[in-house]
Amino acid sequence: MTSSHHLSSSIAIAGVAESDLGRVPDKTALELQAQAAQRALVDAGLTLRDVDGVFAHTDDRFSSLQLSEYLGLKPRHVDSSNVGGMSNIMHVRHAMAAINAGFCEVALITYGSTQLSDGSRNLTGLVEDPRSPRGQFIVPHGQLSPIGYYAMVAQLHMHRYGSTPADLAEIAVAARQWANLNPKAYRRGDLTLDDVMASPVVAAPLRGRDCCLVTDGGGALIVTSAARARTLPKEPVYVKGIAESFSHHYTPLDIDDWLDTHVAETANEAFAMAGVTRGDIDVVQIYDHFTIGVLQSLEELGFCARGEGKDFVKGGRLAPGGAFPINTSGGGLSYGHPGMFGIFLVIEAVRQLRGECGERQIANAQHALCHAPGLVFSANTTMILGTAA
């Protein structure tokens, strides 16, 4: 296998921003992308005229062209590829390739959704071509998507390792405690383990509070060469390691072990590329679509051994003041989740590395890890960011 280690720290994230978040009924997904783009460019100390690469992701199939038109951009390189919630982190890797190839120098990466105001939720099964593998062999059985798949993962974890709904509830409670330190979080206030376990079962063993929020919102990243980033007002946040793996659509019938979903491979490759170890990571942002997703990722990433996740998360260890703080924004579970959360993991990681997180700041943060899946453990990306090249 060829190595991409020589690309470590070749690019940096120079600007990050969210759009208006929460319930934003008066703006479209495109407008939220544009608003986030404007704010991220200001954050980076750049203007629209500097952007020559556009990586956009919305429900529109041609989103990079739609955004380019709206912003009056004439990019040399675009990418609208979509593999689910991790797509914008994949765009960072695509931007790394494009910038190093000379296809563009300043990449604008965006996401936007009005999932809450649209009243849509993918929880009740997508419309799907009834001739597709999913349409013939999954949909007729009444599988809830995506929660049904992760409920099956939770069932398997509980059967194999003896984890319990109370263990999963720890993850939801920790997220809420972080959200209580983040003025931008959509869902704030007290949340106890009992509250989580008293919420209605959706797809057993998962309950309502095991699920991420449904909100509106957008985000944007400005990514450029490390050399260009060093000329800008804010300290660069370097992309030190990044790796991906891909397998299936919504028909994961060939995944031999649903608790070994190729995350270890992306993590090991990203760590090797970054030249750092798990012990060097100060900030961890893990896609929390469902509480079980966090438990699964912690084990597969190697932060704890397989089956030890249930003890690893106990007693508030993931919460503010805990031994292993994660998802410091409040995550998809309490900060917000406008359909696809990948870009928001990166925004929070960059802010932590810059020391911009106020009450929820992790002291002396130098390395951050972002991990996200796409669809239903169909794809994986692990990215390691650092304050030094």
């Binding site: 009740t124 013939q136 062999f137 398997l156």
Partner: protein, 138 residues
């Protein structure tokens, strides 16, 4: 009465034999004539060796539950009066996995590893959906 129609599969030329067999109460999988590998769902050619010499293998219909969930929210209007219902990944004894409902058992009694056998639910003149029920305790 709930009159919503269950989302029905629409067979393609490649998958038609699977659904024809299901309507006859048989569960079949593709087996490669060149490398003998089974594959499911049906495909144009063998994913292992790319041979087009695919034959149909009749499964025993026996397997065990790999994992499952109990849906308390219906995935579509047809399922609204069926909650809670079980959706499982079943591992057939031949090694192939498929998704299907577990029926004829209270949802709270279903466990990973339970032995199950296929049965078919007729949904139309041409479509019967494979489902699984527990093997009687021996």
């Amino acid at each position: 009465m709930n009159t919503a129609i269950r989302p029905l599969p629409v067979p393609t030329q490649v998958t038609q034999p699977f659904w024809d067999a299901a309507a006859q109460g048989k569960l079949i999988f593709q087996r490669c004539g060149a490398c003998q590998q089974l594959q499911s769902p049906p495909r144009l050619f063998c994913r292992h060796c790319m041979a087009e010499d695919l034959q149909w293998y009749t499964s025993t219909g026996l397997g065990s539950i790999y994992t499952f969930t109990v849906n308390h929210r219906a995935a579509n209007p047809h399922m609204a009066d069926k909650v809670p219902y079980v959706v499982a990944v079943v591992q057939l004894d031949e090694g192939v996995r498929m998704m299907a409902n577990i029926v004829n058992v209270p949802p709270q009694a279903v466990r990973i590893g339970d032995r199950v056998r296929v049965r078919f639910l007729a949904l139309s003149d041409t479509i019967s959906l494979p489902q699984f029920e527990p093997l009687a305790p021996t």
